[in-house]
């Protein structure tokens, strides 16, 4: 955050200077005197209207490993107020009798391309990879997000209340990611998770070296040279700004550079690294590179071989965002096993279930269920309550929003799902989905099922979407 203030000050200084010059030079072109924003493209999200709601009689998973049978969750002013067994309903509360149903925190998907590769997936909509240079740290995924992607509503019906939209993995550095609340909105700013830190997407392995084979990088070693060159420049840029901050009133602000600004944000710890990486040996090299430049890898994505280095991942406190069972479509995913998630969990490392799919995001609870079943087959016993950490608390931690959501605890955002039954069953569906206490999806109420602009007037409108 220090970074933002510094260059806001610099911008103001430069504009004032420019103004003075213009007046003196009697130039024709007018100069804006509006103060620039230190936080450009701010979130305009406001929780939608909600009512005091008591959900009672359910099996409640708190998202952090706790399970309350015959439990209740009280929501007030958009927050979880109480979770327990005997909670009285305040006067006027909406009471949801949830006998036989389960209640969990909303699912958080840390790896989605909704909006940047929306439906319909046609070339005019292909906005997820700025595949014009290996390092494009200057682009921000949110500038590609189409809020009317029908996929958002489908994800909501699958119990997803927050999600991270990332650039794709064509590039060594793909650009900034953005964390969104899964709410219908005319603008992406209206979805931006308030005060969430930014993420930055990186990718290792086969994709970048295939995309840039003709001009480089064309090998894994070329990939690493590419990252390290970028970090060197970023470190230099950061130093210039640090010196400027430490310097006196006459210090001249460095020229703002969008790319280096994002990379330097990682070095200063403000921006979280999310790195697409499959192979265990490659992840180990990335961790060394992070040490070389003094930054932390937040989460490895896909991480198909995390099971091979789960002890290292625990030591380095890195999360792994994984699939239950995808494998084999690339050489680097050839060694995928169904026990990846449970083995990472068993080793005490942070395990997350992610989708990287507009279809997969609709059933992340099923992914967790498959992982849980495969764990049991391998004699690794993990409770359902613990497994839900893969879907809400650990993803929240990965995105730097665990203080605000990701678990059902007093004071946190009421991002809550009521399921028709045990969410680890294939037959279970989300019945009600709340974001900040507002009921945004109700399977029983056609009016409370979002229909994106694109879907209006299309065949199937009025269908159960």
């Amino acid at each position: 955050m220090k970074f933002q203030k510094l260059f806001k000050a610099a911008l103001m200084a430069s504009l004032v200077g420019a103004c003075a010059q213009q007046l003196n030079a009697e130039s024709a072109a007018p100069v804006s005197t509006a103060a620039p924003s230190a936080k450009p493209f701010p979130s305009t999200y406001k929780p939608l209207p909600s009512q005091t709601t008591l959900i009672r009689g359910a099996t409640v998973l708190d998202g952090k490993g706790g399970q309350i049978d015959n439990g209740s969750v009280l929501i007030e002013d958009g927050k979880v107020v109480a979770v327990g067994q005997n909670i009285d309903a305040p006067a006027g509360a909406v009471i949801i009798d949830a006998q036989g149903k389960w209640v969990t925190p909303g699912i958080i998907d840390v790896h989605s391309h909704l909006g940047v590769y929306p439906s319909p997936s046609v070339s005019p909509h292909a906005d997820g990879n700025e595949a014009t240079a290996p390092v494009t740290a200057d682009v921000w995924a949110e500038h590609s997000v189409w809020p009317h992607d029908p996929g958002f509503g489908r994800a909501l019906a699958g119990g997803v209340t927050s999600l991270q939209i990332l650039p794709g993995s064509a590039n060594l550095v793909g650009g900034r990611a953005v964390t969104l609340k899964n709410v219908p909105s005319r603008t992406v700013q209206g979805m931006k998770f308030p005060d969430a830190p930014y993420g930055m997407k990186m990718a290792c392995g086969e994709n970048p070296k295939r995309v840039y084979a003709s001009r480089g990088p064309s090998t894994r070693m070329g990939n690493f040279a590419g990252y390290r060159a970028a970090w060197i420049k970023a470190a230099d840029y950061k130093k210039k700004w640090d010196d400027y901050a430490a310097g006196g009133k006459d210090a001249k602000a460095p020229t703002r550079d969008l790319e280096l600004e994002t990379l330097a944000g990682v070095l200063s710890g403000d921006i979280i690294v999310h790195m697409h990486c499959y192979r265990g040996d490659e992840m180990a090299q990335v961790l060394d590179m992070a040490k070389e430049f003094g930054y932390k890898v937040g989460t490895f994505h896909h991480a198909v071989e995390s099971y091979k280095i789960a002890d290292l991942l625990r030591e380095e406190d890195v999360c792994s965002a994984m699939w239950a069972d995808w494998w084999g479509f690339k050489m680097e995913s050839y060694d995928g096993i169904r026990e990846n998630i449970p083995f990472v969990h068993k080793a005490g490392a942070c395990a997350i279930v992610h989708s990287d799919s507009d279809i997969g995001i609709q059933r992340l609870n099923q992914e967790a269920a498959k992982a849980l079943a495969d764990a049991r087959q391998a004699s690794v016993e993990i409770s359902k309550a613990d497994a839900w950490t893969w879907l809400s608390y650990n993803p929240a931690k990965s995105l730097g929003i665990a203080d605000k959501t990701g678990s059902l605890e007093a004071g946190k955002m009421a991002d809550v799902v009521v399921w028709s039954g045990d969410p680890f069953s294939i037959y279970t569906l989300a019945e009600k989905v709340y974001v900040d206490g507002a009921l945004l999806y109700d399977r029983a109420n056609p009016k409370l099922k979002p229909v994106s602009d694109f879907e209006l007037g299309q065949p199937g409108r009025g269908d159960a979407k």
Binding site: R154, E206, K370, Q377, F454, Q458, G460
Partner: protein, 422 residues
Amino acid sequence: MKKAFVLTYAALLAATPVAAETIAVVGGKVHTLSSQGVIENGTVLIVDGKIAAVGADVPVPNGARTIDAQGQWVTPGIFNPYTYLGAAEGPSGTNSDHSGADNAPFSAAFDVQYAINPYATAIAVTRIEGVTRAAVHPSSSQSIFEGYGALIHLGNANDITFKPRAFASVNLGERGALRVGGTRGDAWVALFAAFEEAQGAGKGSDHDNYLNRLDKEALPSIIEGKTPLFARVERASDILNVIKLKAKYKRLNLVVLGASEGWLVADELAKSGIPVIVDSFANLPQNFETIASTQENAARLEKAGVRVAFAPLSAVGGATGNARLVLQYAGNAVAHGMSWEKALEAITLVPAQIYGVDKQLGSLEAGKTADVVVWNGDPLELSSAPTHVMIAGDEIPLTSRQTELRDRYQELNDSKPFAYRH
């Protein structure tokens, strides 16, 4: 014990198939998918690779090996009706995908049987999840016709193809149109041209050469209905065009593959008798031929009387590494309104019917091939797994290179370098 071991070893040496073993699966909840229905506490008797008897009181012969299925479920082997198993190893960039190619010299004449490798990694990975049979489809070509597919079992054998040239496929949606360098208006004209040429083939008449000789010769058995033709279409209007094709070429044995918008023309499909293979997860307007996609597609088709089968058509690796997920697709359809019984049929009996092998496969009935799976719970439920998988009476080990990797990495410590853990 020692004597028995020697005998077994000798049997292997003599290359006698282990399928000669007599196995009695006893005490399970048997889903026969036949007129016998569900038999609580039933027995399935397997002799010489075939089902000898199914029932509540089947005597078990001396010398039979007994599998105790108490508290477990017993079903026919799962049949995935759309895969590239054996023909495509999977990883991109490895030249190991021989399921089809956009720039290959042949299209209708392409024959996938030559591409099938029984030792492809995905075979074992798939069968340990209860999938015993698969249809191997051509994946692409340079024209609308994609060529001949084959049927395989996933058992232990040097040759797993039990029906080569079992069916053919044609792509009549957006992709097919692109391949002929044009639009649907061109693709369908191309289809008619090809059929006309094929019917004139060998009659010495002066026909246009739209197709090369081999592609032309591949078509008559399709037109005569001897070879089922799978039409890859998603959009309602395309499905109607396929149904109309049957009015023109009456002997065609048609199956629709995809049918995302099938529910919009469910009555027409039911009337035509044409079965469909659908992806039960598909519910997004991913392009302009799948706008009306919905997860209730299968349930609505079932209600209208259409025969439905499932395949993971759009999953990453759904035709290879994740062909095993076909069970999750069936369960998902139940969650969205399909009956459980029809969902199980959609991945067992209906595929057998579609491919014309339902005399041997698809249900647990005396005389049929002994593809039998024992499960520790509801096979469609995510928490369940097979405990025994028999393919033509041969029980396959529940191992794959993935289980070996799992075993190797169970304990992460420095006790022994991982390479020596095997």
